[in-house]
């Protein structure tokens, strides 16, 4: 078991190190945070640049900077933002809630929309309603998320004034960003639910269930949907990680104060500590995966043997 834990932990640490090293290196190739501080009304002199580089420590060799970052990160300190002067951990903490809320809300909308439509399309295969649902999902897949977001703002916020166009100011402000995200996600999900359920409903055991005289609803929901859910749940799980990346654009459109905006601004201003901190936060996925892997080993001894 110890060997198993060591192997999994070592693997996760190597991935973390490789990705943070790459990001830290790559961001330093593309511009100087000292010069970025002068955006607006400023023009730096060469002395200004040297002075600020020294204050930020970016005049030191790259490996020294990276080693300092790792050393501090291991003690839970992700550094201080060049731009805001705030600790990176606090900046991420302030915004994580907004992003998670947006991602969860989007997922809820997607599930609420995709399941009824997917089930309806699967049980009315090749009917006009099935055709319309499939065309609708294709349209949803074709919309760029920022365009869809702006369209929803113009219709639901400007024309009919049902919801606020942007901001993070209460339940009503959740509707448009979560709706946009949900529609984009539901477009894929509805097709997956339909395809999976169509496949399941063609199985022998469904025929047997019908032959037993069960109600169609019981056949579809209890026997069909339950088995059709497996690939759908896998997809939803995988999408959740991708969702966190996808919210960057929507946070910008809806002025949503989340991790996405923080990351975008940090990259724009070459705020190295924040960029690196957001990457570490995102790599939390690796740590979750590591814990899941380790729990497999505890729960199922064959996994340990296999390793």
């Amino acid at each position: 078991m110890l060997r198993y834990v060591a192997a999994r932990t070592g693997g996760a640490a190597a991935v973390l190190a490789a990705i943070t090293l790459f990001v830290a290196f790559a961001i330093r190739l593309t511009g100087d945070p000292a010069a970025a501080l002068f955006e607006g009304a400023g023009a730096p002199s060469t002395e200004d640049i040297r002075r600020i580089q020294h204050a930020f420590g970016t005049d030191r060799p790259f490996l020294a900077q990276y080693a300092a970052f790792v050393g501090h990160a291991l003690r839970g300190n992700l550094g201080t933002s060049f731009r805001s002067g705030q600790p990176v951990v606090a900046l991420i903490g302030e915004r994580a809630q907004a992003t998670l809320l947006l991602a969860l809300g989007g997922m809820v909308v997607a599930l609420v929309v995709a399941f009824p439509l997917g089930i309806y399309a699967a049980t009315h295969r090749n009917a006009l309603s099935d055709f319309l649902i499939r065309v609708g999902s294709l349209l949803g897949l074709s919309f760029p998320n920022f365009w869809l977001g702006i369209m929803l703002i113009l219709i639901l916020a400007v024309r009919v004034r049902w919801f606020p166009p942007s901001g993070y100011s209460g339940p009503a402000s959740l509707v448009l960003p979560c709706g946009t995200l949900g529609i984009i996600l539901a477009s894929t999900l509805v097709r997956l639910v339909r395809a999976s359920l169509v496949d399941t409903l063609g199985q022998q055991y469904i025929r047997t269930a019908r032959a037993k005289g069960l109600r169609e609803r019981t056949v579809v929901v209890r026997h069909g949907l339950r088995n059709a859910l497996l690939p759908v749940v896998t997809f939803v799980g995988l999408q959740f990680g991708a969702l966190l990346g996808g919210v960057i654009v929507l946070e910008n459109v809806f002025a949503w104060p989340g991790i996405g905006q923080l990351a975008l601004e940090a990259v724009s201003y070459r705020d190295y500590p924040v960029v690196q901190g957001v990457v570490v936060f995102a790599l939390g996925v690796i740590i979750v995966n590591l814990l899941v892997d380790l729990s497999y080993g505890l729960l199922n001894p064959r996994v340990r043997v296999g390793s």
Binding site: A35, S84, L154, G167, E265
Partner: protein, 502 residues
């Protein structure tokens, strides 16, 4: 708020108006939309709050959250627009753009190196801390010390050696070097006076997100990337504002900013680009205020790269492009031509110099004289986020094609452009540059862009230009400076080292 109703601005609001007027003098591309709140119909739904229900509170949407409200930590215009309502300097720039007393009631040079300020009495910071000579000394010690070294403002004030307290309401700034622009610099950005005890009790990081000054509005609440709320400072030394509160909301996407206005949730949207001007203009509930800016956009030449090393080529490019038509069409008229790399607001601008005329025949002749072959490819580099310039550049390519040049557009990501491409002379022979000159004095622009070896001037050098720059920098005699600037303007114009556009 009604269009043009600046009389309703309070002392605090006056500053916002000042900003508008400052911009309005030049008539370039920036714009402000003011919503006629009284005309907004329909009741609030969901979390919305219409202009009618906001009463004396103003909501302004702007594109950027500066992230740090500490005056020494930023150079962003988005800070300037808010910061002038929270902080005061020793000197203030009024709505007529003329310098006037701020926290100092008067100042004078008591010797060649010592500038003495008499301070205003009875002023307190928003937290109740008294304003006095200690606060002024603390402000400049902090600005010129290790704390200031981490920010972009210190470099503006390195001519000051130190601040010296004479008595509780008299302070001397002891100068290290001549700085004819120092008074102007004290009216903006890094020289805003900050509260010593408050910063010592907390720290700079806390101060950066909970600012305290002596200005007409005081800090209430700040949610990063969302909003900042200010309330009227009823004890403001120049009279309490009539507005009860101002909320700045940060909305990066311009379409959403305009939507906030259209939905009645905001009174003013800042930074509406030309592409959205028609949307605002056509909305009966909104008013579009085209306002100016000291910012000038130009095309610069890199004289180290052929064919831009030949003055005939440079003058040919200038003659080949009809800038006025580009302004009227692509910029929809929201811009004025300039003849040098400064706005008419700038001290040092020579109104006698007129832009080179559009003359494609002369351009062809000059290209022939320079030996530039037909079809010669020339690269124009520019920051990729400048959508208006990108469109203008496409028009420039057509004009240059008409005289036999092939212009290739090279958009470069903004920070890479300013921190790598420009300082290391990696642009094409032609490149875009935009500049504002916050001091409204040509020194700020001229020295950093024409003095040899500066960060954004790695290549150009000219003995006469150096002589004029030295002349304007080493005297406080403003007449002598104006004369030096006039000679500098003429020299740069003759060299055609850049092509000022609008």
């Amino acid at each position: 708020m009604k269009r043009g109703d600046t009389s309703k601005y309070t002392k605090g609001g006056y500053r916002m108006a000042m900003w508008r007027r400052w911009k309005a003098r030049d008539g370039a591309v920036l714009a402000i939309c003011v919503m006629l709140g009284a005309l907004v119909a329909g009741g609030p739904v969901g979390a919305q709050q219409t202009a009618q229900s906001r009463g004396q509170s103003l909501v302004i949407v702007q594109g950027q959250d500066p992230q740090n409200w500490d005056p020494i930590a930023t150079f962003l215009l988005s800070w300037g627009m808010v910061g002038c309502n929270v902080f005061d300097g020793l000197v203030d720039r009024g709505p007529d753009l003329v310098l006037r007393p701020g926290l100092a009631t008067s100042w004078k040079w008591i010797s060649k190196d010592v500038l003495q300020f008499k301070l205003r009495r009875g002023v307190t910071f928003h937290d109740g801390e008294p304003f006095n000579a200690d606060a002024v000394k603390f402000t400049f010690d902090r600005l010129l010390g290790p704390e200031g070294a981490k920010g972009p403002q210190q470099g503006n004030y390195t001519s000051i050696d130190h601040a010296q307290i004479v008595d509780p309401y008299t302070v001397n700034l002891v100068m290290k070097t001549e700085d004819p622009v120092i008074i102007t610099k004290l009216a903006g950005y890094g020289a805003m006076i900050v509260p010593p005890k408050y910063i010592q009790q907390h720290d700079s990081a806390y101060f950066g997100s909970h600012p305290v000054g002596t200005g007409p509005f005081k800090f209430v609440e700040y949610n990063k990337d969302d909003h900042l709320t200010l309330a009227a400072n009823q004890n403001y030394w120049n009279g309490a504002p009539r507005l009860a509160a101002v909320t700045y909301r940060f909305v990066p996407e311009v379409s959403t900013r305009v939507a906030e206005l259209q939905a009645g949730r905001a009174d003013i949207a800042q930074g509406v680009p030309v592409s959205q001007a028609t949307v605002v203009k056509n909305d009966p509930n909104l008013v579009l205020l085209p306002v100016g800016s000291p910012t000038v956009i130009e095309v610069r030449f890199d004289p180290s790269k052929p064919p831009a090393d030949d003055i005939r080529f440079r003058k040919a490019v200038i003659a080949a492009i009809d800038v006025q038509t580009i302004i009227q069409t692509i910029l929809q008229g929201y811009g004025h031509r300039v003849s040098t790399f400064q706005s008419p607001l700038s001290f040092g601008n020579d109104p006698a110099l007129k832009p080179y005329p559009y003359d494609p025949q002369q351009a062809k002749q000059l290209l022939a004289e320079a030996g530039t072959k037909a079809g010669t490819e020339v690269i124009l580099s520019f920051p990729s986020n400048n959508a208006d310039f990108r469109e203008a550049a496409q028009a420039m390519a057509s004009y240059l094609q008409a005289v036999g040049l092939k212009l290739t557009l090279q958009p470069i990501e903004q920070v890479t452009y300013f921190s790598d491409t420009l300082p290391h002379a990696k642009t094409g022979p032609i490149y875009e540059f935009g500049w504002g000159g916050w001091t409204l004095d040509f020194d700020n622009t001229a020295y950093l862009l024409y003095h040899k070896g500066e960060y954004w001037n790695p290549v150009f050098s000219d003995a006469q230009v150096e002589q004029y720059l030295t002349a304007e920098r080493t005297t406080n005699d403003q007449k002598a400076r104006l004369k030096a600037f006039s000679a500098l303007d003429r020299r740069l114009y003759d060299l055609a080292i850049d092509f000022p556009l609008w």
